[in-house]
C-alpha cells in the first residue's frame, strides 16, 4: 500500500533522539532502557 508523506522527509523529525528516547516514547519499560532479560525474570529490578 502506498504510504503518504510530505514533500520533505526528515528521518529524525528534527529531533536528535537517542535509543532510550525512542523506547521511552513507545512506553517500553525495558531494563536499563534497551535491555531484555530472560523469560521469567522481571524487566526491571524492583
Amino acid at each position: 500500500q502506498p504510504v503518504q508523506v510530505s514533500l520533505e522527509i526528515d528521518e529524525d523529525d528534527e529531533t536528535d533522539r537517542d535509543i532510550f528516547d525512542i523506547n521511552e516514547a513507545l512506553g517500553l519499560n525495558l531494563f536499563e532502557g534497551d535491555i531484555r532479560l530472560d523469560n521469567g525474570r522481571p524487566e526491571r529490578n524492583s
Binding site: 508523506v5 528521518e11 529524525d12 535509543i19 525512542i22 536499563e32
Partner: protein
C-alpha cells in the same frame, strides 16, 4: 558480562526477519562490515545452528545481553532505530556488553544525579560489581557507543549523568561509531588478534615506511620528507596539529628528465575476501603532465615473480591541498600494491606526494565530495536554505542521478549539520525504472584519522521506497522532471531536483569539531548507492535459500524452491540448498532436537540421560560378571593348590 556461556562463536549466525524496514536491513549489513573491519567478529546467515540472532522490527531498539543459549535470540531494530551506531550498540549488548556507565568503577568517573532522574526510572542507573561485570582492564570510556548521554531519563533540563572531568559532559552518549576502547574491549573479550577485512595502514611516520620497497628497475625514488616548499607544507597525518612533524612520501618532478619513474611497492598482502579498497591522500604540486599510476603485482603459480597489472592513472592540474582517492581492487591472490610516479613533459615546481594509505577488504565509496575552506563556511553560513551547499551531480551504478545537500548551519537548529538526498534529472532517466526502487544512498562524513580502524565516521542512509507517495498523490521517488522543481548548476545548466529526504540532526557542531572530521580545512562526504532489492525477502524459512552472496545475505531463488518443496523436511525443518542439493536444517532447543536426513527423529536430553544410565549399568554388569568369574577361577585354582600342599605335608610327616 562475566561467564563463558554468554560468548558467541567468532562467526555469529543471524537472520534478518522480513518485518525489518529495508533501510534497516541494508544498515545492519553495513554495521556488520564495521565489525569485520575493526574486530574479529563476523556474521553469517543462519544455517540451522543451535543459537542465532534473529533481527526483527519490534517495538523499539533492544537486545538481550550475551548469548542466552535459547536458540533463536531476538534483537529488535524498530522504527527510527535504523541508525548504524544504534545497530552497533544493540549488537554489542548481544555480544555481552552492558552499558558503559554500569561498570563497577563508574563512580570514579561519573556522578549520577539521583534527584534529576524521572520517578521510577532510578533502576536504569544500575552499577554491577566486578563479580558480574568485567571492564577487561580498559579505562573508563566517556566516548563509548555504549554510554548513556547526559540527558538519559532526566525529569527536567539538568543532566542525570555528570562527568567528573567536566570536558567530557558533551562527549558521553555519542552515536557515531565504536570508540577505540569499545574495539579494545570487544577484542579482549573475544581474544581477537586480527580483523577480517583490515589489511594495511601507513602514514609514513616510521622510517621503515611500513615495509614498502623502492623498485630497483626505475630511475628515481620516492623520498620520505616532512615538507616541500611548493607544497605540501605539512603531511596529511598531522595537518593542523604540528608543522614539520609528520612525514609523507614525495616524488620530486622539478628535476630530472621527462619519463623518469619512481616505483614504490607495498609488502606482500594476502587477501581473504577477493575485493579491496585502496584509499590514500594525494597532493600534486608538480605539473599537469606528471602521472601517478596505481597498479598491482599479483603472485600466482603461473607468475611466481608477480605479474604487473595497471589499475588507474591519476593526472591533473597541480593543486594546493590534499585530495582523497579510492581505488577498488579485486585481488584473489597474494599481491603488492604499486605506486608509480612518472615525470611529465611540462615544467614542474614540486612533485607528487602520498600519505595516510589504507587498504581494506571493503567496498570503495562510489563518490567523494570534497568541501574546502570549511571553517569559514561554518562561521558564515546562514541557517536554512540560504546556507545550503549542493554536491556536484553524481550517478549511481545503475544510472540514477542524485545530489547531496549539506546545510552547514542546519535547517532548523543552528548548531547542527543537516544532510539531505535529492534525486535529480539525469542523462539516463528514460531508460531507468521509476519510481526508483530500493536504492540505498549512504552518505558518510569521513573521520580523517590516518588509521581506518580508529576512524569514527558519521554515516546516514536513505532508501528509496517505490511505494511512497506525497500528499498530492505523486510517488516520492518518481522522475525528478515529474515531481521535482527547477534548479541551476553553477555553470548555468538547468535541471530538475526531486524532493529531499535526510536528517536535520546529522551531527552537532560540537562533535563535528571533534576528532578529524575537519582536517586541512576540508571535509569529505563519501557517497555510495547500493541496490538492496535482493533484501526484500531475507528470512531463511521461505523454503529455500541460495548460497550466501558477497554481502553474506541469504536470498531466495525460485528455481531452488521446487527442489526443496519436493524434498519435504519434516517437523518444521528448514530446507536449505548447499552445493545445489537440498538439506534439512532441523529445529532444536536446549532440551530437545530433531535429527536425521529429514528431521524425522526426535532426540531429547532425557534420551541421552537414559542412554548414559543404561550404558553405565551395562558396563557395570559386564564388569561384575568378569569379577565373579575371575574370583571363582582364582578360588578354584588356589583350593587345588592348597589341597596339593596339604597332602605333601602329610606325606613328609609320615616319612619322619
Amino acid at each position: 558480562i562475566i561467564g563463558n556461556q554468554y560468548r558467541w562463536p567468532h562467526t555469529i549466525p543471524y537472520v534478518l526477519e522480513d518485518s525489518l524496514d529495508m533501510n534497516a536491513k541494508g544498515l545492519i549489513l553495513k554495521a556488520f562490515e564495521r565489525y569485520r573491519l575493526k574486530t574479529c567478529i563476523d556474521f553469517k546467515p543462519w544455517e540451522g545452528e543451535a543459537n542465532y540472532i534473529s533481527v526483527f522490527k519490534g517495538s523499539g531498539c533492544w537486545s538481550y545481553v550475551g548469548k542466552r543459549q535459547g536458540g533463536r535470540q531476538e534483537l529488535s531494530i524498530g522504527a527510527n532505530c535504523d541508525r548504524i551506531a544504534t545497530i552497533e550498540h544493540e549488537f554489542l549488548h548481544a555480544l555481552g556488553f552492558w552499558h558503559e556507565q554500569s561498570r563497577s568503577d563508574r563512580d570514579d568517573y561519573v556522578t549520577i544525579m539521583r534527584d534529576r532522574i524521572q520517578a521510577g526510572k532510578e533502576s536504569n542507573f544500575n552499577k554491577y560489581d566486578d563479580k558480574t561485570s568485567d571492564f577487561l582492564n580498559i579505562p573508563y570510556d566517556y566516548n563509548s557507543v555504549m554510554h548513556y548521554s547526559k540527558t538519559a531519563f532526566m525529569n527536567g533540563t539538568e543532566p542525570t549523568i555528570v562527568t567528573n572531568i567536566p570536558a567530557f559532559i558533551d562527549v558521553i552518549g555519542q552515536r557515531i561509531d565504536f570508540s577505540e576502547y569499545d574495539i579494545q574491549k570487544l577484542s579482549r573479550l573475544y581474544n581477537c588478534s586480527s580483523s577480517l577485512s583490515f589489511m594495511d595502514t601507513c602514514s609514513f611516520e616510521l622510517p621503515n615506511v611500513c615495509g614498502m620497497i623502492q623498485n630497483t628497475e626505475d630511475n628515481a625514488d620516492w623520498q620520505r620528507i616532512t615538507q616541500v616548499s611548493s607544497g605540501p607544507q605539512t603531511d596529511h597525518t598531522y595537518t593542523g596539529v604540528c608543522q614539520e612533524t609528520g612525514y609523507f612520501l614525495h616524488f620530486n618532478t622539478s628535476t630530472g628528465n621527462q619519463g623518469d619513474r619512481a616505483v614504490l611497492e607495498s609488502r606482500f598482502l594476502y587477501p581473504k575476501r577477493g575485493f579491496q579498497c585502496l584509499q590514500f591522500f594525494y597532493y600534486n604540486s608538480g605539473s599537469e603532465t606528471d602521472q601517478l599510476n596505481i597498479g598491482v603485482k599479483e603472485y600466482t603459480v603461473a607468475n611466481p615473480n608477480g605479474a604487473y597489472r595497471h589499475i588507474e592513472t591519476i593526472q591533473g592540474s597541480p593543486v594546493s591541498y590534499w585530495e582523497l582517492h579510492h581505488i577498488p581492487l579485486n585481488m584473489p591472490n597474494k599481491f603488492r600494491v604499486v605506486f608509480e610516479g612518472i615525470k611529465g613533459s611540462t615544467t614542474s615546481n614540486g612533485g607528487l606526494s602520498i600519505d595516510d594509505i589504507n587498504l581494506s577488504e571493503t567496498q570503495c565509496p562510489h563518490h567523494v565530495w570534497h568541501i574546502r575552506n570549511f571553517t569559514e563556511l561554518l562561521a558564515s553560513s546562514p541557517l536554512g536554505e540560504a546556507g545550503s551547499l549542493y554536491s556536484p551531480p553524481f550517478y549511481s551504478p545503475e544510472g540514477y542521478a542524485f545530489q547531496i545537500a549539506l546545510y552547514v548551519n542546519g535547517t532548523t537548529s543552528p548548531f547542527n549539520l543537516a544532510i539531505y538526498l535529492h534525486l535529480i534529472s539525469g542523462a539516463n532517466d528514460n531508460t531507468l525504472q521509476w519510481p526508483c526502487p530500493w536504492k540505498q544512498f549512504t552518505m558518510v562524513l569521513l573521520d580523517q584519522h590516518p588509521d581506518i580502524r580508529q576512524r569514527m565516521s558519521n554515516l546516514r542512509s536513505i532508501t528509496t521506497d517505490p511505494n511512497e507517495v506525497d500528499f498530492s498523490g505523486n510517488y516520492y521517488w518518481d522522475r525528478p522532471d515529474k515531481v521535482g522543481t527547477e534548479a541551476t548548476f553553477p555553470n548555468g545548466t538547468k535541471f530538475m531536483r526531486g524532493p529531499r529526504s535526510g536528517t536535520s540532526v546529522f551531527l552537532t557542531h560540537q562533535r563535528l569539531k571533534s576528532r578529524d572530521f575537519i582536517k586541512d580545512d576540508s571535509i569529505f562526504i563519501l557517497a555510495t548507492v547500493d541496490d538492496i532489492s535482493h533484501l526484500i525477502s531475507t528470512e531463511p524459512n521461505l523454503t529455500a535459500t541460495s548460497a550466501p552472496t558477497t554481502n553474506q545475505v541469504a536470498t531466495t531463488t525460485t528455481s531452488m524452491v521446487d527442489v526443496c518443496i519436493d524434498y519435504g523436511c519434516k517437523n518444521n525443518g528448514t530446507c536449505v540448498i548447499v552445493d545445489r542439493k537440498p538439506i534439512c536444517r532441523c529445529p532444536a532447543e536446549v532440551d530437545w532436537w530433531y535429527m536425521g536426513e529429514k528431521c524425522e527423529e526426535k532426540g531429547t536430553r532425557q534420551d541421552i540421560a537414559v542412554i548414559a544410565v543404561a550404558s553405565s549399568l551395562c558396563v557395570f554388569g559386564v564388569m561384575l560378571i568378569i569379577t565373579i568369574v575371575t574370583t571363582c577361577c582364582l578360588k578354584k585354582k588356589y583350593k587345588k593348590q592348597m589341597q596339593a600342599n596339604r597332602s605333601l605335608e602329610l606325606k613328609n610327616a609320615t616319612s619322619f
